[in-house]
Amino acid sequence: MERDEDTERDDALLGELRRVIGAADPVPDRLIAAAQASLSWRTFDDDLAELLHDSSAEAALSGVRAGERGRVLSFGGERMQLEVEVSGTGNARTLTGQLSPAGPGEVEIRHGAGQSRVELDARGRFSTAGIPAGTVSLRCRVDGAGPALTTPWLPI
């Protein structure tokens, strides 16, 4: 009997908490809208790269603050590797990268506000500024080479 009463009391309290949290901290509408729109970012037949190394995770572990140099991210796919340095403060980021094997082509930087394109030079390098802080994925395509290398989505 007592157990049933306890269960009822718990359910009632949880119900009240549900109502209060629902009012105080609902999922923001703009985030629902962004989640709905994310289906359009689907890619097919890309070489999906993995994040192999993140210098800021390492700095955090060793207790060293991120220094003058930006955050360095390394990605590896089946056939290509990408290294990207992320720098910048506030809401804008500068990305400088190197794709290997090198080749001229194009990099699509996909982010919350849309996407930017930047040229990949013959040595596989690129640089672009003014990328909004937030979640990004890079898609690198070398002219005349197979599938694009696509990085996982990652907040920067």
Binding site: L14, R18, I32, S38, L39, W41, R42, L48, S56, G134
Partner: protein
Amino acid sequence: MDLEALMRAAREGDGDAWNAIVARYSGLLWGIVRGYRLGDADAADVFQTTWLRLVEHLDGIRNADGLGAWLATTARHECLRVLRVGQRHVLTDAFELPDEAEAAALDARLLTGERDRALWRAFEVLSDRCRRLLRLLVADPAPSYEEVGAALDMPIGSIGPTRGRCLERLREHASAAGLTTGEA
């Protein structure tokens, strides 16, 4: 449509099916990121990253029953990564700490009743473990224990007992806060 059918349709590019999946799990994911006390920018990043990861892996997830747990696990990993890296704060101002207390106060202003505010404050001072669990259990729609277990990396068998203990703590804090409020 059941989840299996929604996943199949979403793979074919069906926006309505995708939106139904988003509607079903957004509350769970928001509950996870808020449980980890991420500020607005970081919470938004993790929430969005998790959905984009699913878009990336739509073809790889064949077991629709495991979708909620997959999303929950992905969100938890991303929360832990953001907390480890502390990127927004490192990049904007190394010495600026997120003012969570202020954020909580702002949110609480939206609550009209004294009783609601007291309950919110009582919730805010719970231990991390309790706050995370209860924040998830009140998600709408309510997550399964399997999803909660994946979100918190907690054995499913311990969810029920922990829920009971955490609600007891909440009840204690609430009545203490209520008394204080009455005397003020």
